[in-house]
């Protein structure tokens, strides 16, 4: 039978705050084990949680970014379960009254090729709530060790509706979601650092059926490629069972990266009874509507909105916008450069080609590219460069050289042109003399040109450019050569 997959995702995102969700202990990734704890993190007797309002605001901002309704009041519940990574053996979370309700995320599916924009659609969200991260267990040969550094870090759990039907959609969703979260400054979403983690709920139903099938929940999907592989594996596994006349068991499964397969963790019957009840230590949070409005006003433009605007208003092609818009810093750099010189295409090209290339080459040991903020170039550098080219001060060719130089030194392009004497030569008599020499010295090329091969002119331009050290105005050179050859007939 042919099946249609129904997929819902639960994404945990560490909210970037200076201190933890319910105490002043700091958090950073990679600190030595158990150094970022305090009495509250460790759940010592007599300690009480105190709310980190920054985490609330950031989560509300995330909700606004994703089109959620922000609750008037949100509350805290205890989720009770015993596990050694949980200092209190309950997790503070929002079960009954979450901070963000509903929401939807625009996603862009892959196009037929890299250069062609794919279809867009919306994925519906159910809710976003805040909770505290547990510690981290590491299983060694004969013992298990616990690091409580991560314990108590604010975690936003984004729950989608069962609104996706393929691993491709799920991956597209995660990529777009990740972009938006990074854009809004909520989290860096580095999956390797555990800043973003994903569980996937998968069920199958016969194509055309409206009724949802029995679902399984897949845990431990710690990279986007794992999400893709695990969903595909699960779709195949369920289809085989159904084809054999079997029934899907509602269960929680764990993805094993090493074997690229999953195994059952627990069935529905074995599922925890979390004994949720309202936390008596924390007060409900009344959301100040004026503050919510302020947060909404602070939101950055959503990446796909920006992409649409660049395409429509600035007439930039998808190949450029797709590079420019995935990175908020890059797109803001771009827009800032336009203030110096309003030439979107040229500037976008400099950024997406030259700047990104230099950034990647400049990275140490080729590990990861430098970010725009880490290099010596400012938007003004690139704007000025585009401007002096447009004004005919230097040629595009010289522009490349200037770019490399300013990337290296941080000097402004006009200063480099001045210092190196790179100003384009518009001296007609000098260039004309050189052209005559070139024509005289390469009869073959002249002949080819006359036979209609325009490219043959390049062989004549070469010596002129060489003699002028590239400073000859290329337009003028082109005109002069043609004129002189025509006259010579």
């Amino acid at each position: 039978m042919e099946y249609e997959a129904v997929i819902g995702l639960e994404i945990h995102v560490q909210v970037k705050t200076r201190t933890k969700m319910f105490t002043a202990a700091p958090y950073e990734y990679g600190a030595p084990p158990n150094t970022l704890t305090d009495a509250v993190v460790l759940g010592l007797p007599g300690t009480l949680p105190v709310l980190n309002h920054t985490a609330i605001e950031k989560c509300a901002k995330l909700g606004l970014m994703l089109g959620c309704e922000i609750a008037e009041v949100c509350k805290w519940d205890r989720k009770n379960y015993f596990y050694p990574d949980s200092p209190k053996n309950y997790q503070l979370t929002q079960n009954e009254e979450p901070l963000c309700i509903g929401g939807k995320v625009e996603i862009e599916l892959p196009g037929p090729s890299r250069n062609v924009e794919g279809e867009h659609r919306w994925v519906q969200l159910n809710r976003i709530h805040l909770e505290e991260d547990p510690g981290k267990l590491t299983h060694e040969a004969f013992e298990t060790v616990i690091d409580f550094n991560r314990a108590g870090v604010p975690l936003a759990e984004i729950v989608t509706e069962p609104d996706m039907s393929s691993s491709t959609e799920a991956v597209a969703f995660l990529n777009c979601l990740r972009n938006m979260i990074i854009y809004a400054g909520i989290s860096d979403c580095d999956m390797e650092k555990g800043q973003m983690r994903c569980d996937a709920n998968v069920s199958l139903r016969p194509v055309g059926s409206e009724k949802l099938g029995t679902r399984t929940e897949m845990k431990n999907l710690n990279s986007i490629s794992n999400v893709k592989a695990a969903i595909e594996y699960e779709i195949e596994r369920q289809a085989e069972i159904l084809d054999d006349g079997g029934k899907i068991i509602q269960e929680t499964r764990r993805w094993d990266v090493d074997t690229a397969s999953s195994f059952s963790l627990r069935s529905k019957e074995e599922a925890h009874d979390y004994r949720y009840f309202p936390d008596p230590d924390l007060m409900p949070v009344q959301m100040d509507r004026a503050r919510v409005a302020e947060l909404e006003a602070e939101l950055p433009e959503r990446p796909l909105d920006k992409q649409r605007r660049y395409q429509t208003d600035l007439d930039l092609p998808f190949t450029i916008t797709s590079v420019l818009c995935v990175n908020r810093e890059l797109s803001e750099f771009f827009e800032e450069a336009l203030k110096t010189h309003n030439a979107p295409k040229q500037i976008a090209n400099y950024i997406t080609n030259d700047l990104l290339r230099e950034l990647s080459e400049a990275s140490e040991h080729g590990e990861s590219a430098l970010s725009v903020g880490e290099c010596k170039l400012t938007p003004e550098h690139i704007g000025t460069l585009a401007k002096i080219i447009d004004e005919g001060v230097i040629s595009k060719q010289i522009g490349k050289e200037v770019f490399t130089e300013m990337f290296k030194t941080g000097d402004m392009p006009d200063a480099i042109v001045e210092k190196k004497g790179l100003k384009q030569s518009n001296d007609t008599s000098e260039i004309e003399a050189l052209c005559r020499e070139a024509i005289a010295g390469n009869a073959k090329a002249v002949g080819q040109y006359k036979d209609g091969n325009e490219k043959a002119l390049n062989a004549l331009k070469g010596p002129v450019m060489k003699a002028t050290k590239g400073k000859a105005n290329p337009g003028m050179l082109d005109q002069l050569l043609k004129k002189l050859i025509d006259e010579g007939e």
Partner: protein, 488 residues
Amino acid sequence: MSSIFYKTIAELSAMLAAGETTSVEITQAVIDRTAAVDDKVKAFLSTDADDALAQAKASDERRAAGKAIGPLDGIPVGIKDTLAVKDQPLRCASKMLENYVSPFDATCIVKLREAGAVIWGRLNMDEFAMGSSTENSAYQTTGNPWNLETIPGGSSGGSAAAMAAGEAIATLGTDTGGSIRQPAALCGVVGMKPTYGLISRYGLVAFASSLDQVGPFARTVEDAALLMEAMLGKDPLDSTSIAPQGETNYAEALKEKKGPWRLGVPREFFGEGIDPEVKANIEQAIDWYKRQGCEIVDISLPHSELAVPVYYIVATAEASSNLARFDGVRYSHRSEEAKDALTLFTKSRGEGFGDEVKRRIILGTYVLSSGYYDAYYLRAQKVRRLILGDFENAFEQCDAILTPTSPTPAFKQGERSDDPLAMYLSDIYTISVNLAGLPAISIPSGFTESGLPIGLQVIGKAFGEAEMFAVANAFEQGHNYAQQTPTL
């Protein structure tokens, strides 16, 4: 003249100010008294005389330098074993925390230290504050100084007994369903539970978070008022703490507030189960107020019969979750038989907790279970609001409410150990006050024929501590029960 260890804070503070005694002298007297009688009373789980004397010495030096802080400066205050004191054991009278030492001070302790008090010893209690006789301590059974064969009440039995025996000038307890007031009544001392939120719970090892409050034991209402003034206030470390409203210069206000008051007497509190001697004693006390010109108002608290069942749902539910952190992983008792994560939890908890704690954890786990939550926990919370409503209605007709604190005087050790329900009924008059979050105080109101103390409970309006203290103070001034001490 009474021995120095039976004097009040007010008296000692005047003597200190006049240079007639020193904090070291007072503290040494308390230490010596404890050494002399605690073998019999068994109020303290541990003491640290050197630490107390060092604090006393610091107080005397402060005073000598003209920097005495206030009435509590230099006064030794005993601490219940459920309140965290830095570098002192914090065992909650449980094997579960046998080797645990707190790395920090509870907020109430910080505030007492700021007021100059000498923090003194660890007082026995029912394990994790669960009980009404202090017999649930994993370490020792405390005797009631008025009759060592009887119980001192609980759960703050050590705090009450230490007061009656002169082993501290004041003590702190905690009250979740009557754990300060009931032992205060049974030991013939003053014990007070403030409005929920008035004193920070930070550093109080949680039993039932929505009910727990710290409060003082004292010889007089005035002393209790002085301790309250030092400890109250909004604490950034406790989200449920509240900035005080209204009059908070309680001790000063006592001198001005003289009544007469409209005093409510709930008819439901004088029915079945009350000991005839207690009933007669409380009726006499009510009559005394009437003779002073107070208006006695017959009030009804119709849902009070539901208070005990509601309490044992709400309190056990919260306790089952609060006590989950004692799991053998980090600081609590770890079973040597643990083989994996599961047996680490089950064996450690099985060995570390006593029977009553286990009983309440099981009960609390049950009432929160999926499928039972609505029928028990949610319903109990609704009834809880009705109980609060009863009090709100009553306070439209009166300024304070008078009741017995405990239905019976101190009973024999072991008498109710095998009957949890009978034990639970010890708190029948105190529990509804916690459910409603109100302040209440128990003051000595006389003795039974066999010489056991009886306590009168005065319940105030939310944040109405000043009025409540004044009503209690009036009775105390008209009687000499506060001056009476047991023979040990």
